[in-house]
Amino acid sequence: MPSNQLDPNKWVDRYSDYLFNYTIVRVNDREVANDLISETFLAGLKSAKNFKGEASERTWLISILKRKIIDHYRRNNSKKGQAEVKINYTGEDSEGEWLEEQVADQFDRTAEDEMENNELGLAILDCLDSINEKQAAIFKRKTIDGVDTEAICNEFDITPSNLWVIIHRARTALAACMEKNWF
């Protein structure tokens, strides 16, 4: 029996950061990522009546977002009429320089690292979804946005001691959630 229901008013608070991290590694552009997420929310709202409740709200939004990302690349590719050919080594003096450029940079992050980090990021956000909403919100403001302690205290109307207790609880819950797969 379908048990999941849509609650569009909570989409932004619950899923925007997850969708953003999912998108940014795939399109590598903040503006494009924002546009795609915006399109996803609106498409989700328009097709809400087709939601059967078999998948979770987030899985359903991700499936819409995936299609939006594919459409984005299709649109971009259809615009490409001409291939761009870059010729860097024209003179005889520069012959062989390309060899130096091709040497692997051991400090360079590989595609595998990037993929693993993205998975890790999504796992952290996944775990944050499962903890107390207020704790998660304060933790995100402090840890991901890097906002000042005082500013967060004003925003949430709490004292610094409260803030540290909340962050401590959020971190403990997060570590417990991630322990199985990542620690």
């Binding site: 008013n9 953003f20 991290n21 952290i124 302690t149 401590h168 991630m178 620690f183």
Partner: protein, 88 residues
């Protein structure tokens, strides 16, 4: 208002708070000393502290990003607007 503990010996809950503050480089000198002393004799807190540092490293590795509050506000407004229109 919370009373400040001036003793160098603190309980596990205060040590945990100092440890969490230290992850954000916001623990003061005295707090760091209190934490070190506590860790020297409390094995449970030592385990917690090492997990806490590991979590900090993992979060850094993940390079998480949040969308701007302005953008979120914009999305909330357009969703609410469309939602209202569909239900009116």
């Amino acid at each position: 208002m919370s009373k400040k503990n001036k003793s160098l010996f603190v309980d596990c809950s205060e040590a945990a708070t100092c440890c969490t503050k230290a992850q954000y480089d916001e623990a003061g000198f005295f707090e760091k000393i209190k934490l070190m002393i506590h860790l020297a004799f409390c094995r449970t807190c030592r385990t917690f502290s090492s997990k806490n540092s590991k979590l900090t490293r993992k979060i850094e590795e993940a390079n998480l990003k949040c969308c701007s509050e302005e953008k979120k506000r914009e999305w909330r407004e357009s969703i609410n607007k469309l939602h209202r229109e569909e239900h009116s």
